[in-house]
Amino acid sequence: MSIAEMLANLEDEAVMAEVKKQISDGVEPMKIFEACQEGMNIVGKKFQDGEYFVSDLMMSSAIFKDVSDVIKPLLGTEGEATIGKVVLGTVEGDIHDIGKDLVHAMLSAGNFEVIDVGIDAPVDAFVNALKENPDAKVLALSCLLTTCYDSLKATVEAVKEAGLTDVKIMIGGGPVDQSVVDFSGADTYGETAQDAVFIAKELM
């Protein structure tokens, strides 16, 4: 069974053993990493098809993170090439981190570099992160409380007022739908962590 299949089957110990074996056998680290990414793509597809659920996404993300920790130091400059950069965080007033962390994991597995400003993040944290990372073209805002819609809106407005008009903003979280996009002035929203990957690719 390939690394991709093992990861897609959520066989954590087998994946790690095979990754270590291939490294010691001299297989190119980038090839091993790409196989892990392929496994994550299969997981994403299974989630989209209703065959996998949030716990499966979490398990696959944990496996991916563990193997990435082993492989990435071996990648050198080759490992720095990503699809693009996303600034991510949960808006001010909201301390929920699970959804944000899951989006972080799925974006990383999808070969995005993620700048995570954390939870309960004030608007300045997002604006500063975007200014410090001018190559970040997507801002992802997480919001789990209807009472934080105003924070979403304030963050979107602050980004625009800072002149960062080429940054596309996607939002997500339990009570987020098109009406919240309309209210906040964001560009779009995603219903799942997997959606975040597709949307980020489209927005890049």
Partner: protein, 375 residues
């Protein structure tokens, strides 16, 4: 406790709705924090100043009821609410005015408070002893004492006021199945990993926990002459966990809890957040027309009605964003469409999960008014 004619009629309507004998869709109130803003209180004052807070709660429901009947109450007043939530989910809870701004909603902190080796401790010590040791990690015991004193002092007055205002409280007690409690204590990410790696051990732990938990819940319900209570389904939703985890760790305990409530004369309300589509047919395993599924807008009720027929009543499911961001027209359209899909029999209209703290009053009125006017 002495009831009155309207209270009795409403309770009868509730029971008829469960039996699919209701003439019109019934309505249920479901906003633990919604009254605060409308009644001019901060959430901090609303939950800590319990006499004023409870008065605001009743006054708010009366204002709604003046516009359209509120038949039953599905969320009690949220006095010192951060304390029972902390006990339900075995997690630290940040409260407004303490760790959060005065007008912030209470929020559960997602942190690993129980270690993986604690599973063995529970198996060795039993649940009651472990819980006693564990609770101080997530809750100041002085706060727990305050909550008990508050409940003893003000609980009976509140129960009387609910009856005097003719509102049957159909959810007196939220039962947290062992899966949910462990998920809170371990943190969701850690616990979901445990479920893949330690499935059998967690099942053994839950088997130790369940009898103690359910006995405590039943005792509390008996003491308060409850009509019924929630069997909570939050992180154990079908959309959240794989079928193997759900079949092993979630459903057996939810079903057992529902059965136990019924055996003791209480009506179970399965409070189902997130999406339960995959497993919705399993509710056919509950006795016919004995309980309620209280969903939040993510479960497809139209499909559920097709699969479940008149086996089980629904309570739901106007989405929170609609109540906060929508208009009376969009809310009304949603309710009409829902009732067209599932039919008025066996249907109680309320918000999906909690009515949000920033729900517009006119939207909540539209939700109830559309339900009672539905032809």
């Amino acid at each position: 406790m002495q009831t009155n004619k309207l209270y009795d009629e409403r309770l009868e309507l509730y029971k008829k709705t469960i039996k699919f004998e209701n003439e019109r869709p019934s309505t249920a109130y479901g906003g633990p924090a919604t009254p605060a803003a409308h009644m001019g209180m901060t959430i901090k004052d609303y939950i800590f100043d319990t006499k004023r807070g409870f008065k605001a709660y009743i006054d708010y429901i009366n204002l709604l009821n003046n516009e359209a009947p509120v038949d039953v109450i599905n969320t009690p007043y949220a006095g010192l609410f951060h304390i029972p939530i902390s006990m339900m989910w075995l997690s630290k809870v940040k409260a407004p005015g303490i760790e959060l701004p005065d007008n912030s909603l209470w929020q559960v902190m997602e942190k690993e408070m129980m270690k993986v080796e604690d599973y063995d401790k529970i198996l060795e010590q039993g649940w009651a002893e472990f819980q006693q040791e564990f609770l101080p990690k997530v809750l100041d015991m002085k706060d727990l004492q305050k909550f008990i004193e508050y409940q003893m002092a003000e609980g009976p007055e509140q129960a009387k006021a609910m009856i005097d205002n003719s509102y049957p409280l159909v959810n007196s007690m939220g039962f947290t199945p062992p899966f949910e409690a462990l998920c809170g204590a371990r943190s969701m990410t850690k616990f979901f990993m445990d479920c893949y790696k330690l499935l059998d051990k967690i099942k053994d732990v839950q088997d130790v926990m369940f009898p103690v938990q359910i006995e405590g819940a039943l005792q509390a319900m008996k003491q308060s002459n409850a009509i019924g209570g929630w069997v909570g389904g939050w992180r154990g939703a079908s959309g959240m966990v794989s079928p193997k985890i759900w079949d092993t760790l979630v459903w057996p305990y939810m079903k057992k809890a529902g059965d136990k409530l019924l055996e003791n004369g209480f009506i179970p309300i399965f409070h189902l957040d997130q999406n339960w589509d995959r497993d919705i047919e399993r509710f056919l395993e509950m006795p016919r027309q004995s309980c309620i599924l209280n969903t939040d807008g993510m479960t497809d009720l139209k499909r559920a009605r097709k699969l479940l027929g008149d086996h089980v009543a629904f309570m739901g499911d106007v989405p929170a964003p609609l109540l906060s961001n929508g208009t009376p027209e969009t809310v009304s359209d949603y309710v009409k469409e829902l009732l067209d899909s599932v039919g008025p029999k066996g249907m109680m209209i309320t918000s999906g999960c909690d009515t949000p703290a920033n729900a517009k009053f006119e939207n909540v009125v539209a939700m109830y008014k559309t339900a009672v006017d539905y032809k």
